[in-house]
C-alpha cells in the first residue's frame, strides 16, 4: 500500500510541477486578515489577564501577567511583521490535519491555530494564545503529511501542557534562585541558562511524547520510519532540502569557461548534527539530543498497529503543492537575507524540475548582481563570513568554493553574461535590464574603463579558453584556508580617482580569458547602448571629480545612492509605511514598555494624520493598527515595501534595484506617488545621573545660583528620544534623510507635533 501511495504522491508531484508556468507568482496573504493583526495588543492583553485564576498568589499573578504581556506583544509583533503568511488555502490544510489529530479533544482543537512562517529556517514553535507557527524552511524539508502531523502534534503538546507559561514562571524562579544562591555569581559560567536549558529539554521531551501519542491515536503512519524522517530533518536542518550536485559549468557561455581550478576536488561529507550531544553541548541546548528524542518517540510508536495508517489523510496533492511553493519561496528568502549562495543553490534545485522558470532564473541573476556589487565595492564582509566554503557540507560546497575562489572581475563578467543572456530571452522583463545596466556600470568603473579591451572579433577554441582561464586562476591550496574568516580580496586600485581617460588599451593579462566573453552580445544595440552609457557616465564622474578635487569631494563607486539632507522637496503626496514606536525604560528589569509603547504608536499615527491634514498634504499610512479584515491587499503592499526597504538599507550607499523592484514600481503607480516614508520613534527613560549634578552642587558653594540647576538636574527625570524619518523615491531609490536625531526631551505630544510638522513641511515645501 505504502509504495502505491508514494508513487501516487510522486505522480501528483510531477503533475504539480508540470502545472507550473515558466514563471512563478509569489504566495501572498489572501482572504480576511486575522484580527490579531489589526487589534491593538493591549486590548488582547486585557482579555488574556481575565483568565488568570483568582486563587493564585499575588506573586504568581504578577508573573502570569508579565508572561501574557511579553509573549502576547511579541507574538503580535511577529504577526504584523509580514513574517507570517495568512492564506486560507494553507491554513485550511493545517486545520484539517489538526482536525484529525484532535478529533477526540474538541476543546483543545478550538484553542490551537496554525500559521505558516515565511522563513527559510527549519523551525516550528508554539506561542501564546494557542498560535503555532511552522516555517516554510521546515515544510520544504518534509517528505509527507504524516511527518508534518507529528511536528504539529509536538507543538500542540506545548500548548496543551501550557509549556509557554510554565517555562516563563520556572525561568523567573531559576533566575531568582540563582541570583540568591549562586556560587558562580562572579564567574562567566551562566548557571541560570544551564538550568533553564535542562528544564526546557524536559519540556521538549514531554512535547515529543504528547505528539507521539497524538499521531498514534490518529490514522497517520505513526511508525519509526516517519519518526526517523522527522528527526533526520532536524539532524540535517542546516543543509538544503536536496543534495544535488551543482555543475559549476552552469554559468559557462559560448565564449566563457570556468577554470578547472575553480572546481573543488571533493566536497565535504555530510555529517549531520550529532545523535548524542556531549555534556558540554547538552548544557547549551534547549532541546534534548536528537538520538535521545528519536529513541524515546520510536519506543512509543513502535507499539502501534500499522494497519490502516496512511502517510496522507487530508491530501497528498495539497501537501506537495504547499511544499513545492515553500521550495520556490526559499530562494527569495535567502536573497532577502543576503545568503546569495544559498539563494542560487536553492533556485538551482527547483530549476532542475522547472528549467525555464523565469522567477528562479531572475533570483540567480539578482544574487549574482548583488554579490558582484558587494565584491567590487569591497563591502563583502557582510556576507563573506557566511560564504566560506569550508563551513558547508555536501554538493552545495562546489558552488560555494567556486564563488569564493573567483576573482572580482570574473564574477562581474560571469554575472553579466548570465543576466544579459536572460535579458535577451526575456526582453519584456522590467527587472533584467536594470540589473544588466548596474553590472556593466561596475565593469566599467572597477575593471575595464573601455570596451576596446574586449576582443570582439577574435575567436578562440574552448580548450584554449580553459588553458587561459586555468592560468589566470591558479589553484588554491585549500588546506591553508582557515575554516572561519572570509576571503581576503585584493586591495582595489580605485578607478574612481581622477585618472586621465586613456583610449589606448593596456591589456591586463590576468583578464585575458574574459575578453571574449561577450562576443555574442557586441553589436546588440541594447548591449552597446548600455556600455556607451556606462563609459560616458564614468567620464562625467571623472570630470566632476577633477573639478571638485581641490574641495576634497570624492566620488565613490558606480551606482552610488545619494542621501539628501536638509532640502525642501516639493512633494505633496507620500505613503508612510508602518511607522514604529518603542518606549524603553532602562531603569526597569523589563525595559520594554509594551502598553505605553503601543499607546505611543497609536498617538504617533494620529499625529501624522493630524499634521498632514493641517498642511493639506496627501498622506496615506499603511499600518496594521489602521487596518481591518478587508485590508489584506494593503497588508501585502506594506510587506512588499518593508522587504524592499530592508534590502535598500543593506545595500547602504549602493543604488541598485530591490529584489522586488518590479512589484514596488507597480505599487508606486497604484498609490500615485514615488515617495514612501519610513519613520519611527524610540522613546527612552534613562537612569538619573548623579555625578554631574553633585559636582554642580559643590560648585554652587561658590556661585549659589548653580544650586538651582543642580537640584533640578538631580530631581528632573531624564528623557530622550530618537526620531528617524527616511523618505525614498522608490523608483530612483534616492534617499532623503528627514530626521535622524537624538533629542534630549520627553516626547510629549507638543514636541512630536512640532517635529512631525517640520518633517512634513520639508517634504511639501518647494525647493
Amino acid at each position: 500500500m505504502k509504495p502505491i501511495l508514494t508513487l501516487a504522491g510522486a505522480l501528483l508531484c510531477i503533475v504539480g510541477v508540470q502545472a507550473q508556468s515558466s514563471d512563478y507568482i509569489r504566495i501572498n496573504n489572501s482572504g480576511a486578515l486575522p484580527s490579531e493583526v489589526y487589534t491593538p495588543s493591549t486590548v488582547k492583553y486585557q482579555d488574556d489577564i481575565t483568565r488568570i485564576e483568582e486563587e493564585l498568589s499575588k506573586k504568581d499573578k504578577k508573573t502570569q501577567q508579565e508572561y501574557y504581556l511579553e509573549s502576547g506583544f511579541s507574538i503580535d509583533e511577529m504577526m504584523r511583521s509580514g513574517l507570517v503568511l495568512y492564506n486560507p488555502d494553507y491554513n485550511a490544510y493545517f486545520e484539517k490535519i489538526a482536525d484529525e489529530l484532535l478529533k477526540n479533544n474538541p476543546t483543545l482543537r478550538n484553542e490551537v491555530h496554525f500559521y505558516l512562517l515565511r522563513s527559510p529556517v527549519v523551525n516550528a514553535f508554539a506561542g501564546a494564545g494557542g498560535n503555532i507557527f511552522i516555517s516554510m524552511g521546515l515544510i520544504a524539508m518534509l517528505d509527507n503529511e504524516a511527518e508534518l502531523a507529528f511536528v504539529m502534534g509536538h507543538e500542540i503538546g506545548h500548548i496543551a501542557l501550557e509549556h509557554g507559561l510554565d517555562f516563563y514562571m520556572e525561568a523567573k524562579e531559576i533566575d531568582k534562585s540563582v541570583n540568591d544562591n549562586s556560587l558562580f555569581r562572579k564567574s562567566s559560567f551562566n548557571e541560570s541558562l544551564v538550568i533553564k536549558n535542562l528544564y526546557s529539554q524536559d519540556l521538549e521531551t514531554q512535547a515529543d511524547s504528547y505528539g507521539a501519542d497524538l499521531i498514534s491515536k490518529s490514522k497517520y503512519a505513526a511508525d519509526t520510519a516517519t519518526m526517523n524522517a522527522v528527526f533526520d530533518v532536524l539532524k540535517y536542518s542546516y543543509l538544503p532540502y536536496r543534495n544535488d550536485p551543482f555543475p559549476v559549468r552552469f554559468f559557462e557561455g559560448a565564449h566563457y569557461v570556468i577554470s578547472h581550478n575553480l572546481m573543488i576536488d571533493s566536497v565535504a561529507p555530510i555529517t549531520g548534527e550529532p545523535e548524542i550531544m556531549d555534556a558540554k553541548d547538552a548544557f547549551k541546548s534547549t532541546h534534548p539530543s536528537i538520538g535521545d528524542r528519536r529513541t524515546a518517540v520510536n519506543n512509543t510508536v513502535s507499539k502501534n498497529d500499522p494497519s490502516g495508517r496512511k502517510e496522507y489523510i487530508v491530501s497528498g496533492e495539497w501537501f506537495l503543492r504547499i511544499r513545492n511553493d515553500a521550495r520556490y519561496e526559499l530562494p527569495m528568502f535567502y536573497l532577502h537575507n543576503e545568503l546569495f549562495q544559498d539563494a542560487i543553490y536553492s533556485a538551482y534545485l527547483s530549476l532542475q524540475k522547472d528549467p525555464d522558470n523565469l522567477y528562479l532564473e531572475k533570483i540567480i541573476a539578482k544574487a549574482l548582481t548583488s554579490m558582484t556589487k558587494y565584491r567590487n565595492s569591497k563591502d563583502d564582509e557582510v556576507y563573506a563570513e557566511k560564504a566560506n566554503f569550508k563551513e558547508y557540507e555536501g554538493e552545495q560546497q562546489s558552488l560555494y568554493f567556486m564563488l569564493w575562489a573567483m576573482k572580482d572581475v570574473e564574477m562581474n563578467v560571469m554575472s553579466l553574461l548570465y543576466t544579459y543572456n536572460l535579458y535577451k530571452q526575456h526582453p519584456e522583463d522590467k527587472e533584467l535590464q536594470p540589473l544588466c545596466k548596474t553590472l556593466i556600470n561596475d565593469l566599467v568603473v572597477y575593471h575595464f574603463d573601455s570596451d576596446v579591451y574586449f576582443l570582439k572579433n577574435d575567436s578562440i577554441s574552448r580548450d584554449s579558453l580553459y588553458v587561459l582561464s586555468d592560468k589566470n586562476n591558479p589553484k588554491v591550496d585549500i588546506s591553508k584556508v582557515r575554516k572561519t574568516g572570509f576571503k581576503k580580496t585584493t586591495t582595489r586600485k580605485t578607478t574612481t580617482r581622477v585618472t586621465k581617460y586613456n583610449p589606448v588599451p593596456k591589456i591586463d593579462k590576468t583578464k585575458a580569458h574574459l575578453l571574449y566573453a561577450f562576443n555574442d552580445f557586441w553589436g546588440d544595440m541594447a548591449f552597446d547602448t548600455l556600455w556607451e552609457a556606462a563609459i560616458s557616465e564614468r567620464k562625467e564622474r571623472e570630470e566632476l571629480a577633477k573639478k571638485y578635487k581641490d574641495s576634497g569631494f570624492k566620488f565613490n563607486g558606480a551606482d552610488t545612492r545619494n542621501y539628501y539632507l536638509g532640502e525642501n522637496l516639493g512633494v505633496d503626496s507620500i505613503v508612510v509605511i508602518n511607522p514604529f514606536y518603542m518606549r524603553i525604560d532602562v531603569r526597569k528589569e523589563n525595559a520594554i514598555e509594551y502598553i505605553s509603547g503601543e499607546e505611543g504608536e497609536l498617538n504617533y499615527l494620529q499625529i501624522l494624520q493630524d499634521n498632514a491634514q493641517l498642511m493639506d498634504m496627501h498622506v496615506q499610512i499603511l499600518d496594521p493598527l489602521l487596518m481591518n479584515e478587508q485590508s489584506v491587499d494593503q497588508f501585502n503592499d506594506m510587506n512588499e515595501f518593508n522587504d524592499w526597504f530592508s534590502v535598500q538599507l543593506d545595500f547602504g550607499s549602493m543604488n541598485i534595484p530591490g529584489y522586488n523592484q518590479e512589484v514596488i514600481d507597480s505599487l508606486a503607480d497604484t498609490y500615485g506617488t514615488d515617495y514612501f516614508l519610513w519613520t519611527g520613534i524610540i522613546s527612552l527613560r534613562d537612569r538619573m545621573h548623579i555625578t554631574g549634578p553633585l559636582i554642580l552642587l559643590g560648585t554652587s558653594l561658590f556661585f549659589p545660583p548653580l544650586a538651582i540647576l543642580s537640584i533640578y538636574d538631580l530631581l528632573a527625570p531624564r528623557y530622550e528620544f530618537f526620531y528617524l524619518a527616511l523618505l525614498y523615491d522608490v523608483k530612483t531609490r534616492e534617499a532623503y534623510v528627514l530626521k535622524y536625531e537624538l533629542l534630549n526631551n520627553n516626547d510629549t505630544r507638543a514636541i512630536l507635533n512640532s517635529h512631525t510638522y517640520e518633517m512634513l513641511y520639508r517634504i511639501s515645501a518647494k525647493p
Partner: protein, 258 residues
C-alpha cells in the same frame, strides 16, 4: 546712534529670516504672552526703632535702614516670532516701580525722619531666543539673550513708617530722569498645550549699566537745611532694580497667534 543700533539688529536677524525654513509650531510662528515676574523689593518698613527718642549718631547716619522683603508684582506682555528652527526673536514690555525708605535730616529743627524714595519706569526688552540643541522653536528649553532699555524716574513721597511728616520741599524735590540699559540671559522652558496655548517659565540673570539717579546732581542736599542722607534711596532702589535682573523668575501664558 539709534539708527546704527537698529541696523546692527537687522544685520543679525536678516540672515535667519532669509535662510530659514522656519515653520514654528505647526506653521505658527508668532506668540503673544501675558506674564508675571515678582520684583523683589528689599524695601521700606523700618522695624523696631522708637523714632520719637531717636538720636542720630555718627555711625547711624550713613547706615541703611534694615529691610524686609516685599514682593512688587510686575506684569509683562511679550511677543515672540520664530526665525529659524531653533531661533526666535523676542520682545517684552513691562512697567516697574520700586521704593524704599530714606532718612532725611532737618538741621534747623534737628529732627530726623523717613521718606519713601520711588523709582519707576517702563522696560523694553529685545532679544534672541536660542532653543536648546535638538529642540524646535518655539518649544521646550531655551536660552534667551536680551537687552533691556528703560528710562527711570525717581521721586519722593511720604513714608507711612515715618514718625514725622516729611517737609513739603523735600517731597517736591525732583530728580533728573536717567535712561538705563541692561544685558540679560534667561534660561527657560516653553511648552505648548492644545496646540494653541503656551506656558513659558524662565529664570533670568543680568547686569545693569548705569545708576537709577544722577549722583552728581542729587548729592543729598534739598533746600537750605534739609538733607537726604546720601546714598540710601539711591542705593536701595538700585539694589531693587538689580534684584529684578538677578535671578528673576517669570511665568507667562501665551497664545499662538499665526
Amino acid at each position: 546712534m539709534q539708527k546704527k543700533f537698529i541696523f546692527i539688529i537687522l544685520l543679525i536677524i536678516l540672515p535667519y529670516v532669509v535662510q530659514s525654513q522656519a515653520v514654528g509650531y505647526q506653521g505658527k510662528k508668532c506668540i503673544a504672552s501675558l506674564g508675571y515676574m515678582p520684583l523683589n523689593n528689599l524695601s521700606g518698613t523700618f522695624l523696631g526703632i522708637d523714632w520719637t527718642n531717636y538720636e542720630i549718631t555718627e555711625d547711624q547716619t550713613f547706615a541703611l535702614a534694615p529691610y524686609q522683603l516685599v514682593i512688587r508684582h510686575t506684569p509683562y506682555i511679550s511677543l515672540e516670532y520664530v526665525l529659524g528652527r531653533e531661533l526666535s526673536i523676542w520682545f517684552r514690555y513691562n512697567p516697574f516701580s520700586t521704593s524704599t525708605n530714606a532718612y532725611w535730616y532737618n538741621t534747623g529743627l534737628d529732627s530726623i525722619g523717613l521718606v519713601q524714595a520711588n523709582t519707576s519706569g517702563n522696560m523694553f526688552s529685545l532679544g534672541l531666543r536660542k532653543y536648546m540643541r535638538s529642540t524646535a522653536a518655539p518649544l521646550s528649553a531655551y536660552l534667551n539673550f536680551y537687552v533691556t532699555m528703560y528710562p527711570t524716574h525717581s521721586d519722593l513721597s511720604a513714608s507711612p513708617d515715618s514718625p514725622i511728616d516729611a517737609p513739603k520741599e523735600l517731597l517736591d524735590h525732583s530728580f533728573t530722569d536717567q535712561p538705563l540699559f541692561g544685558l540679560s540671559v534667561a534660561y527657560g522652558y516653553q511648552n505648548i498645550f492644545w496646540d494653541k496655548v503656551t506656558l513659558d517659565l524662565s529664570i533670568a540673570l543680568g547686569y545693569i549699566f548705569g545708576d537709577a539717579i544722577n549722583y552728581a546732581e542729587n548729592d543729598g542736599l534739598v533746600g537750605d537745611n534739609i538733607y537726604l542722607v546720601p546714598g540710601s534711596p539711591l542705593a536701595a532702589n538700585f539694589a531693587n532694580i538689580q534684584s529684578l535682573f538677578f535671578a528673576t523668575p517669570s511665568i507667562g501664558i501665551g497664545y499662538l497667534l499665526f
